[in-house]
Every structure is written in C-alpha cells, then in structure tokens.
Assembly symmetry: C2
Homo-oligomer: 531 residues x 2
C-alpha cells in the first residue's frame, strides 16, 4: 500500500536516490515503506504547478472550496483502520488518541468549509461613492481578503493528523483559496502519504486544479529550506521546536521578497497558584495538574511546564499531593527516539541546576523511548537568576517555583518570555485582588485560563493559539480555530470597480448573504436595501 | 516659540550636544530653531516612561482614548497660522495643501475616536461554555484585540502632518491603546515640535499618563535605529524610502525578540491603458494623468510612475496629448534639497538608459529645488530587460511602456514587483475581456482602481493602502483608513474568565453595544438576550 513517493500535484514521483524509512518508537522497528526525498527538480515542478493552480483557486467560489474540504474529510474517514494503525505505529500514541485526533482533523476541515460559506471572515467593507462631495468626489471603495498565494506547511511531530498533512494549517490555507505544499514530517511518513492520497482523491473527485496540493519528503532540512526560499511560496505554516521555527523565520526574512512564517514554537505555559485556591482545593488542583502534565506524555505545546506559588503550608501540601499523584502516573512511549532522548537529557540537565530539587520522578520501566514524568522545585531567586530554568523541557515535566511573597511572584511573572498560555488558579475574590499582576501576565501570553488546565485547545472562533515571541513568530495570528485562515490572506481594495468584475462578496447584490460593513453599518443585506 | 527640545513624555529635554536645523527648500534659508538630537540617556528615559504609561493605556476605556484623540485635533487647530506657516516654510508645499492636510490629520484623529467608540474593530468573539458536552466539557472562551505595546513612529517627509507626528500611524497606535514615541523627520523639525506640543497639551488636559507620547530628534540614523532595537518597542510605523524601510525591517527582525515593522515604501503604481478607452477618450485621460503625475510635485507614494499600453494610433495620440499637457505644467518646490537632487539624478539616469526616449520635460526655471515634470517612453522589450526602469523615481516622473500586443502587456504585468496600486483605464466591455490579466495585476497590488487616478487616498474603512513587498513590508495591513489600527493590536483569548475581570467588550452585558460573534452569530445584544 505504502509507495513512498512524493505527490507532485496528482502525480506520484520518486526520481531521487536519497531515501528514508519510518520507525515504531515503541519497538524501534523499521516500518513498511521506503520514502524518496524530493529532488530539486521535483520541487521546482511542484512549485510551478502550485503557481498555476493558484490562478484557479484565487477566483474559486466558497462553495467549491467547501466541497473540496468536506471531500477531504470523507476520504480521510474512508482510510479507516489502515490510517489509525499506521499513525499509532509511527507515533507511539494510543489508538484512542489517534481516533480522537482524526475526528478533530475532519471537524477542522468541515469547520473551515462552514466558515467560508458563511463569509464574514472576508472582512468585507463597502464605502459607496459620493459624486457630489466637495472639494473632490468620493469614489466607491470596497475591500475584502483575498488569498495570499501558495503556502508551504511543515508537518508537526506531536499531531500526526491535526497539525500535519491535512491539519489546521492546510485546511485554513486551502479554505482561503491557496494551493498547499506540505513537507512531510519524518516522524510519520506513512501517515503523511496516506493522508496525502486522501487529499488527492478528494481533489480529483471535486475537479480541483492539479497542483492545489502536493506532498514532499525530505531526508534532512534541504527540501524544507528550499521550499521556504522558493519565490513562488508566499507564506509558511510550522509547528515545532524554537530552533526549527526561528531558522525558517530568518530564512524567510532574508529572501529578496520576505514572506510571513507562522511558527508556533511551544512554551512553558506558566500556572499561577493563588493562596486561597491552594488552601481550599490544593489536593484537587494537584490531581488535575498531574493529569495535564502527563497527558499525551506531556508532548503538547500547552503543557504546563511552570507552576508558580507563594510559600505557605498550603503550597507545601500541594507539592506533596502533586508529587504523589505524579508518582502514580504510568510512563508512555514518546513520539520518536530523538524526542525521548532530548527529554531525558533536558530533565537531567534541569535537575542538575543548582538548588533544584526533585519533587517526583517516575522510574524507568525498561521499555523503549518512554517519557517518565518529572516534577522539580526551585526558589524564585534561583529561577530569576538562571535562564536555563526558563527553557521548555518537551515532555511530562514541570517546575514548581516557590516565591517568598507576592512581590517575588510578580517579579517572576515579569521575567518570563512570551508564552502561548498562562493559567490562574484562584478564588474569585483573590483573582480580583491580583488583577494588576494578571494584566502583567496577559502581556506575556496569547490565552489566559482561569481555574482550568492549558492542555486541550478548543477549536472554535474565539480560540487564540498564539502568543508573543518566542512562543510564536507572530503574536497577531492563531494556528487553532477559525481565525487561522487570516494568516493566509491579505486585503485588496477595489476602487470604482464595475459590478461584474467585483468578487461576489462585494457586489451590490449580496447573493452570499455575507456580513459586511457598508458605509459604517454592519449588514448582510443588499446595498439597495440600505437607505 | 520654537525651543528645539525633545519631549520625554510631558518634559522638554535637551541634554545632548548634537544639533540640527531646519531649512526652507524654496529659499535654502535656515529656519528659526536649533534642535537637539536625543541622547541615549534621553532615549532610555523615554522608553521607560512609555513602558510605564502602557500599564495604564492598555486598560483604558475607549471613551477616554477617544477624548484624548479629539483633544489632539482641537489643539492642532488651535495652533492656527503658526503651524500652517511653519509647515509651508519647511516643506515648500503651498498653503492650500497644508491647510487641506491639517484638515485630513484632524479628521483622522476623530475617525479613530469614532472607530474605538463603535468597537467592532476589536473583533470580539464569544463561544460560551457547554458544561455537559461529551467526552469533555466545552469551556467558555472569549477573544478580542488588545494593544501590542509601545509603538515607534517615523515621521514621513512627504506628509508633514498626515503621516507624521500626529498622523495616521500615531492616531491608530494611540487609538489601539499604545503609547507612541515619534522620531521627528529632519525635513520638518519645527512642525514636529509644534504638533508634539499640541499632543502633550491634549494629554495633560485629558489626564493621560505621562509617557503616552514622546518626540525625539535625531541628527542621523542613531536615535531611529536605537528606538527600533529597544526592547520596550513592540511595533514600528514608517513611511519613506525602500532603503530606509528595509533597513529598519531587517534591524527589527534581528532583535532577540523580532517585532513587526510596517514600512510603506512607495511604488511605481502601474496604469494599464486599454485600447478602446484610449480610442474613445485618450485626450481626456492624458489631461487627467498630467494632473496626477505632477500633483504635489509628484511626491506621493501613489504617483503613477508607469503607463502601459498596446501600440496603436490611439496610444500615439495619447502620448502626444500627455506630452503637451505635461509641458504646460509648472515646476514646484520639492520637499528638501536631497529629494530634489535625487529626483534630478534619477530622471537623468532613467533618460540615459538605452532606447529610452523623452516624451516631455519641463525646463528648469532657475528657482531652488524645483521638480520639473518628465515623461519618458520605452518599448516593453527594453523594459522587461532593464531592472533600472522598474525603479521608482520619486517626483513628477512617469514612464510610458509601449507593448506590441496583448501578450507582451501581460508579460510586463507579470514582471512587476509588488505595488501599492494599479489602475485600469478601460471601457466596461474590454475590462471584462481583460479579466484574467486584471487578476494577474491584482496579485501585485493592494488597491485596484478603475478609470481614475491612484493619487488621492480616501481615508475610510474600505481603504487598503498597502501592497506586496517591496511596496510595504507587510501586505496584510494598511497604513491609511480605519483598519490601520489593526497593526498595533494582537488577540488575547480569555478562558473561563470571571465576568468582573473580562474587558468591557467581552462581558455578557454588552454595555458598549459592540458587534460580536457570539456562538457563530453576529450580534450587538447582551448574551442573555440571545436564545
């Protein structure tokens, strides 16, 4: 079944001689399939096709794009157990998680279909002419978002489905009207091929232009870098390490024409434990957080890697309860050997920092590539002085920082880098009391959670999964939720444009029923219907 | 009246020993006032104040910010003839233009006041909780735009009021809730000081925090560069040359924390002259364009620097008519000696390129720093082969490119770099006939104009004054019109946030009457009022 070939649009292609293979992290076995890294020629053909396809996709109706997105969801479902089994084998993730992630992936595709049919994402604005205005007539000006051009998407190791070949980046880029070229992640090569075959089937069934989607394999970084540098590429979506994301970002800024790179690079997601909450429900919070820290072997961008509290009996009790709860968790297979090795090295390094104490460390179980949960503890003074302790340890790890008082807690918060999320665990009155500190926390983050856990990112229109650098390269955009589409579009204004030439959503006759700002008034009516 | 001191928040300061002076380009005379370049110490104090002020401005109500913006407009008006005379003397622009630009500047301030009171720019979204949802409850998530942090604005030479100290960048950044630090442009130092004094007066009258606005002078590039590199700075607004804009952009990307730079760097604004339009109204178009090319001595980012047509008798007649009309225009004083010198050197260089012919060149009139209109002509073949001809000549200059046929016209369009605008002059039927070519043109631009001129940028909600690189550094944002505010904000999501802590615009009780997307439905009602 697995052919190991690149998809250059609808064609499978394997003209190169560099090959890679897939591995099962639970067994370290090599899996079926030999995958061919794309050659520079194959890459050039791919980008040429993408550019040609863009001439079609940029003027495609929302209805046709929505059909395509829904067809992809159906074709993914049709892959059935073949997909689930391969994804489990390649990622080490349990079946329940993969089936859930598949559901999320299909939901995302359908959500974007619905979004573009509804149309308000276009941010349509119409200012009609005032030919009699003095001293000069006012022209008719209308504006909406248009697709930006071919988008390159990098698959993510930790979401083999929802953030990879047909994940949120691809779904939102296609929904906006852009062709997509995916660089497959080496951690799930077979899964990538299966999903790509589903997308190509859907493209054929819905008569999409050849080149609307391509998938390339890479042996190292060569193909990925060349994709970012290619003049046809107009934007990049990436989820992964800070090192990888920042390298792609710098590459993109140094092009003759710089392009946006949306790199979501993870963070340590601070959790502020306020005193009253710890006193009233410290044990409950400890259980909740032992779950969040170890969920998916801690391999989430939103993993709570930093717990902040003020020294008290309640905090000591919490620490004890958290240690106990962590100690009872089971190790789980990590995504790749590389990720497991990095986790072990990084936890070791963290625990070796001066005055860092181990609160809990789950013992090794002798199986391959396991992530054993670790919780450590350090004083705020030490944390403030040691930048190593601010670094993310990707996996089931969290650091409890003990502050002497409120002032020190505030200092720790102000010392933090940009984060995807921050969480406040507090009773209502104390939350109000700490409002200024929470506003400081807000400056650092993209999402502020109250009395919950940061893991579990709801896919909805109010979600913001982003945050100030270094959490992402662009805090103004989200990679989860419907607004993710805005990354791959730009506004164009039409001045005195004949009706026939205007995009459907900007015509006087609002046949799509889109919400628009017409002469300062929000409306989904025809222009004629407005006085 | 002119003191030549920096404004570090509300305090005037001149502790340095590097000084600069202002000049009248019409007379080459030195104008009143010795201006002190800010020292590194003064800069550090300024940024410290801006950071402190941000703690207030980020939570300030729209009503208070709107009061401040309107007070600035009033204080600018109160400067009366002092401002008009100084701006005319420093810029060489006629009084009518300066009075008009002052009106635009005040209108912009009032427009942003109105925008933030209306509130839909916040892009508020509310997805309410579903506690019973299986397999996991859905949390309550709400999102809106929040201010990004202290913004640095560079004054522009060609709009001493509307794109400078209290121009669109400053107005939109303040409206979003950010402190602003302006680097005064050396071409209008006194004007900058006068406007800054008006802003500071307005800030004091409306009880704004000290540091919400500062103005610094610079002898060269030192202060500007240090402002872009300062860790407190979170975004930069710039209007000017490609060289300047790109240098600041690269500087900002190389910071430990990269920040967005919105540089609007001008373009050559191609105009496509379709055959039937030329046949039916070539002479009229020639007159219209002679006006657009020479408006404000051609010193607009939207100046039509490139005219494209297909060889025909009608095009020859147009060329003749344009030449005649241009020949009748009067030279005008350019903004600075440097700009006038560059204009003369660049037109000379353009006219010396192989096979470039002069269509019209207004003779020198012996006065200082005059811009004499020049129109040149070249074949499409030559244009395609010579990148020098694609470069902007800032001033009253335009190049007519004669294509042999439709295919060549299309080739020329596809060879263009990113542009702020493109214009199509055509009869309705031929515009439809050329639709594919127009879609290619759209890929290159931020605004597409039909049967008009690109100069004269309407300040309204549908305006997009931006465009693909190298016209700007970020095609997704506009520097003119109400959407300019989106440059200086970023979304934050609030998950299960107590009502008391939510920003006003996200509370169940929609006291501000803001349009919001509530569970997928656009509404300006309270949450309780929705079923």
């Amino acid at each position: 079944m697995i052919q190991g070939k690149n998809f250059i649009g609808n064609q499978r292609s394997a003209t190169g001689n560099q090959t890679i293979q897939a591995h099962n992290p639970a067994t370290n076995e090599t899996l079926e399939g030999t995958f061919y890294a794309a050659t520079q020629d194959e890459l050039a053909q791919t980008m040429q096709l993408a550019q040609e396809a863009f001439q079609q996709t940029k003027k495609m109706s929302a209805a046709r794009k929505a059909d395509f997105l829904r067809a992809i969801a159906e074709e993914i479902e049709a892959l059935g157990d073949t997909l689930v089994n391969r994804a489990c084998a390649e990622s080490g993730l349990p079946q329940g998680r993969i089936v859930g992630e598949r559901g999320r992936t299909m939901n995302q595709l359908r959500l974007f279909a619905q979004l573009i049919e509804e149309g308000s994402w276009l941010d349509a604005r119409i200012d009609t002419a005032l030919p009699e205005r003095q001293p000069v007539p006012k022209p008719d000006i209308r504006k909406m978002l248009v697709p930006i051009g071919p988008v390159v998407v990098f698959g993510a190791s930790n979401f083999p489905l929802a953030f990879s070949v047909a994940g949120g980046d691809t779904a939102s880029a296609l929904a906006a009207g852009n062709p997509v070229v995916v660089k497959a992640h080496s951690a799930h090569l077979g899964t990538s091929e299966l999903i790509a075959s589903a997308i190509i089937k859907a493209a054929e069934h819905t008569q999409m232009p050849n080149g609307i989607f391509s998938l390339l394999f890479d042996q190292g970084f060569e193909v990925g870098q060349a994709l970012v540098q290619h003049p046809v590429t107009q934007a990049v979506g990436f989820t992964g390490s800070g090192k990888g994301g920042q390298a792609l970002y710098q590459l993109a800024q140094q092009r003759p024409q710089p392009i946006p790179v949306f790199a979501e690079m993870g963070s340590i997601n601070p959790v502020v434990l306020l005193p009253e909450a710890l006193k009233n429900r410290g044990k409950e919070i400890a259980t909740q957080y032992a779950g969040s820290i170890t969920l998916g072997a801690g391999q989430f961008c939103t993993n709570p890697g930093l717990l902040l509290g003020i020294a008290s009996d309640a905090l000591t009790n919490f620490e004890y309860a958290l240690g106990n709860a962590i100690q009872q968790t089971q190790p789980a297979t990590m995504l790749t050997e590389g990720i497991a090795d990095a986790f072990h090295n990084n936890t070791k390094k963290a625990l070796q920092q001066s005055n860092v104490q181990t609160v809990a460390q789950v013992p090794q179980n002798g199986q391959n590539n396991q992530g054993q949960a670790v919780v450590a503890k350090v004083s705020a003074g030490e944390f403030l002085a040691n930048p190593t302790l601010h670094q993310e340890v990707f996996g089931p790890y969290s650091l409890l920082v003990v502050c002497q008082n409120r002032g020190e807690l505030s200092q720790v918060i102000q010392s933090l880098e940009g984060q995807l999320t921050a969480t406040v665990m507090g009773e209502n009155e104390e939350v109000a009391d700490y409002q200024d500190m929470i506003l400081h926390l807000q400056d650092k983050v993209g999402r502020l959670i109250f009395n919950g856990v940061p893991t579990g990112v709801e896919v909805c229109s109010a979600m913001h999964h982003g945050g100030p650098f270094p959490a992402t390269t662009d805090s103004r955009f989200t990679s989860v939720g419907t607004d993710a589409i805005k990354r791959f579009a730009r506004p164009v204004a039409y001045q005195d444009c004949p009706q026939e030439l205007l995009p459907e959503a900007l015509k006087d006759d609002n046949s799509l029923n889109v919400w628009r700002l017409v002469n300062g008034q929000w409306s989904n009516q025809d222009i004629g219907a407005l006085a």
